[in-house]
Symmetry: C2
Subunit: 302 residues, 2 copies
Amino acid sequence: MNKEHIGFIGLGAMGRPMAKNLLEAGYPLTVYDLNPEPIKEVIAHGAKAAGSSAEAARDAEVIITMLPACDEVKAAVLGAGGVLGGATEGALLIDMSSIAPHTSKLVASEAAKVGVRFLDAPVSGGVTAAENGTLTIIVGGDRALLDEHIDLMQAMGKNIYHVGDVGMGETVKMINQVLAGINMLAIAEAFVLGTKLGADPETIYKVIRVSAGNSFLIDARVPDYLLKGDFSRPGFALDLMLKDLGLAIESAKINKIPLFLTGQAYQYFSMASSWGLGKKDMSSVTELLEEIVGVKVRTGSE
Amino acid sequence: MNKEHIGFIGLGAMGRPMAKNLLEAGYPLTVYDLNPEPIKEVIAHGAKAAGSSAEAARDAEVIITMLPACDEVKAAVLGAGGVLGGATEGALLIDMSSIAPHTSKLVASEAAKVGVRFLDAPVSGGVTAAENGTLTIIVGGDRALLDEHIDLMQAMGKNIYHVGDVGMGETVKMINQVLAGINMLAIAEAFVLGTKLGADPETIYKVIRVSAGNSFLIDARVPDYLLKGDFSRPGFALDLMLKDLGLAIESAKINKIPLFLTGQAYQYFSMASSWGLGKKDMSSVTELLEEIVGVKVRTGSE
């Protein structure tokens, strides 16, 4: 099967390893980012550089965007020098950013006007899964389009799900973020409480792993972040979680759905961001609680 | 190795299957419960009946209590006709109830006065794990005492952890309940939100299982409770979760630890209990949110 020529836009913490995995799988890649540094890094792995999103899209059969939020996606796709200014008719735009479902629908309908097809395909798993090519990819749009391009998806991810029409990938991703955000805060509260009450944090970790309170984030965050007391490496930045919970609250608001815990979680992460933790890993919310309570959740801190 | 004679007090949803597993493993059991019905059930499996907690404790080397809350434990152990009125010097009392750590300490010190040794050994895993003998057992007290009686623990549980001195088993169990309670509410909010926004609940389940929002309770509650819309079988009753979160808040209050999410979770379960869901499974909190939002999270409800 011949490999599609790909235009890849957005080389942040997630986009860089995803682009590298595509290169490694043999896909010809033309990349663009507002920041020249990551472009150099990915060129060293065999990509070609473009001077704009439009240029990255020019000869591509598939254009992938992996950007922080709605505004960046709208600018890179719909704006001056954007994807739709360069893409050829019949090309496929796959937006893998985590954005609002209604923005995906807007972008899809603008793309359709110039004959560009669209899938929303946000991911879960964070930087580690992006590096290992084991992302979960949650796809909205025409299922046949996904099937046609399943090989390139598999170069980046392990579990690839078609979940509905355009925008539904983003909706299900948002649901995942509601769960992950709340589960993260539960971990912060539980470990700070337990440590303050005199329990050994490593023992709590071992017991919880085999108990009803276990979650994906227990293994993904407790040993490498909480027990080490180092939250500086953003597996998933706190400000991104704040943005994602904001999207869920916005969608809930439109539909008048009360979200007691999600709302509280948003305020919690907002407080942590104000306190200066926005660029750190989302688990750094634990630092704020540790500071308030006067205890450190660390290996051997009993 | 010869099997200890066990007095077993408290034959509720958890106690019954735990007692049966001990009988099956060959332990001679004398049982007591305030309610005569479950006594008949366990006698049919080979146990002897006692007329009081004191009588159940009389000839026992090990006395196990598995009761709903602090008041019941204090009554059954310290009260008239209680364990300490019948137990012989040198006997071991293992309280497997989920109660406040300070109550465990009180009971342990009263027991010590009459030469009865004590372990707090609350469990995690719910009725299913109790039936399968795969409970996680979280033990506080003298480690040598636990080692001495590890065989009978293994008749009921799979993962047995010594976590510290008397009361620490209850503390770590409480931490687990904070996580499980909050994770459960996150599931209710996320699935109601997603279904209302048009996602297929079964698809959400499949995606979340392999995403960052996954938790023990996703598999333990979504297919058998949320997707079936039947919350009547209490794997873990909502009122018990309310009680456990209350214990965490009480311990946090003594230590001036702010628990934003745990506090909110308590109010949430309290609302659901007031609404009449207390005896149903804790996942029935979803029913309340479904009713408010006007949507049903069910297989095929897309």
